[in-house]
Symmetry: C2
Subunit: 357 residues, 2 copies
Amino acid sequence: VLTSNLADPGLDVLEAAARIRSARMADAGAVLAHLEQLCKPPGSLGMLEQLALRLALIYGDPPRPLQNRLVVVLAADHGVAAQGVSAYPQEVTRQMCATCAAGKAAINVIASVCGAEVLLVDVGVIGDEIREVLTRRVRAGSRNLAVEPALTRDEVVHAIRIGMDIVRERAGSVDVFALGEMGIGNTTAAAALTAVFTGAPAEAVTGTGTGISSATLKLKQEVIRQAVARVGLTADPLHVLAHVGGIEIAALVGVVLGAAVAGRAVVTDGFIATAASLTAVRIAPTARDYLFASHRSTEPGHCVQLEALGLEPLMSLGLRLGEGTGAALALPIIDSAGALLREMATFEDAGVSGKLI
Amino acid sequence: VLTSNLADPGLDVLEAAARIRSARMADAGAVLAHLEQLCKPPGSLGMLEQLALRLALIYGDPPRPLQNRLVVVLAADHGVAAQGVSAYPQEVTRQMCATCAAGKAAINVIASVCGAEVLLVDVGVIGDEIREVLTRRVRAGSRNLAVEPALTRDEVVHAIRIGMDIVRERAGSVDVFALGEMGIGNTTAAAALTAVFTGAPAEAVTGTGTGISSATLKLKQEVIRQAVARVGLTADPLHVLAHVGGIEIAALVGVVLGAAVAGRAVVTDGFIATAASLTAVRIAPTARDYLFASHRSTEPGHCVQLEALGLEPLMSLGLRLGEGTGAALALPIIDSAGALLREMATFEDAGVSGKLI
């Protein structure tokens, strides 16, 4: 039972996370044998074969078509923007939400070509409610993590629950989820989370985000270094999220956990989405079974995250936009991998000389 | 006027190739300015922005939707298979064609997920005609390039014309073409072509193909080294194709040239398709404007080809199957890039603070 009013806020989330099962809807050995029987040289489909195996473990062999694809784009503001760590003013978060609601942001365009729906949720943008955007605000932006914890533990748990609820409400009609975000200042939070969870130094995980000067980059690194130091030594991912996270990042953690609970594949995007994915896997290691990498972004910390997660990206397109753009592009590739197990002939079906000379 | 009965067989092909125009349906500076105005940090869509520019040069700005996508899979046998250079017996070419005709080869499955039609054409498979496959045979397999030229100049030109004709017949209803092939033994021909056109040594461009032992790899390298030596010094790509090419490779050259003539983007696949693409660009350098790389295969010579063409692949999936599988996977990505110019808001549309702080 979920128990949301205990002494420790977050216990219900942690309990739900603890119940996430490893993906074992198929026997890995049997799936590998199936892949070997498919009418092609062994291993010749490379990473598609690994994707097919992972999808079979999640959905059974053969995996279902990933026909209903949902990109969950979570938006919130960041108090740390006041430090001047971004190339854009904070009101851009709100303007980008309006553009996305009008169907004219990059993620709308790419999702449309890649057969995915976009669900934009405002979990903490500053200002009046934005028209035609689902509003589930935790608070009006996070606090400035350069001077105080960005969120309280209650706020973190609230945001995670929003993400989990979105997935639970949609999992019946959605085959695969993809992560997206909007939030000026959020590469700073993502870098701090990555530094804490991987032990990498601030310089190794701090990039130029939307495009800042080298002087601003130095400032950003210093902000991150100090924030990480204030987190202290802890094994509690919720504590880390509260200190240096963000509202949309915490909600994305909930989307990953929710997808794992529901037994759905979830595709991570760039640096911010993958900071959330890493946090989710620190909360619930078995959630990794449901996570798929999409692309390798130009943010230096993205490689650090992907390595920590043991995930290999499918594309290297030099993207650094976020919004779920890379995740959406990966959906047809991942779906193709599962389709191989569903539709390809075996050597026996095809009467092909499968034996090597 | 095409003049197909001249003293030099191939003069008509060379004349058509010479008339291929650079892709200039838009002004590059204007397209770059348009990309800068889109509602995103400058350059944040990385390679998608380069793809968008190239599509605009081919189709105009904004580029048309790449809705009708055709993977042209060309199949033929190779006499060099008699040398034991492949892991599979020659009859597998025929069996794979039947599997593809039945819609159950990897390319059928992937193309279906990626919204592409597959057109399989038998341009030189050995044995009786294969049911439900378009038959345009030049001859029953190429000759053994280990001991004699694989094709005559007439046969090469015939195969190129077949490829060009396929594209001309379909270009009215097809927005983008993708290259695919089937042919046991064809990595040997592709490696020899690559060695001749790039000057790379045989060892650098010879891989394990469908999966051969290290002893067979040595034999394959020796076959390629000797065949390349017999080609001699020449500036005539048709001569090279005749000596060490293959029927389906020559026909793919025709598909590339035909796409360029028709002003359509054409997406190359792995090692064999890219050997054909490289040959096409040696015949008609302007054809490169219409060529797009898709993935980076595990065949070592594929990198050499892509570098010679100056094309950057979008994915690194460890594929080594051919059939057009990587090219088909790239189609939604390339289409997404063009859609950005068509559908994304500009900073002005969106009322977004486009000025950096």
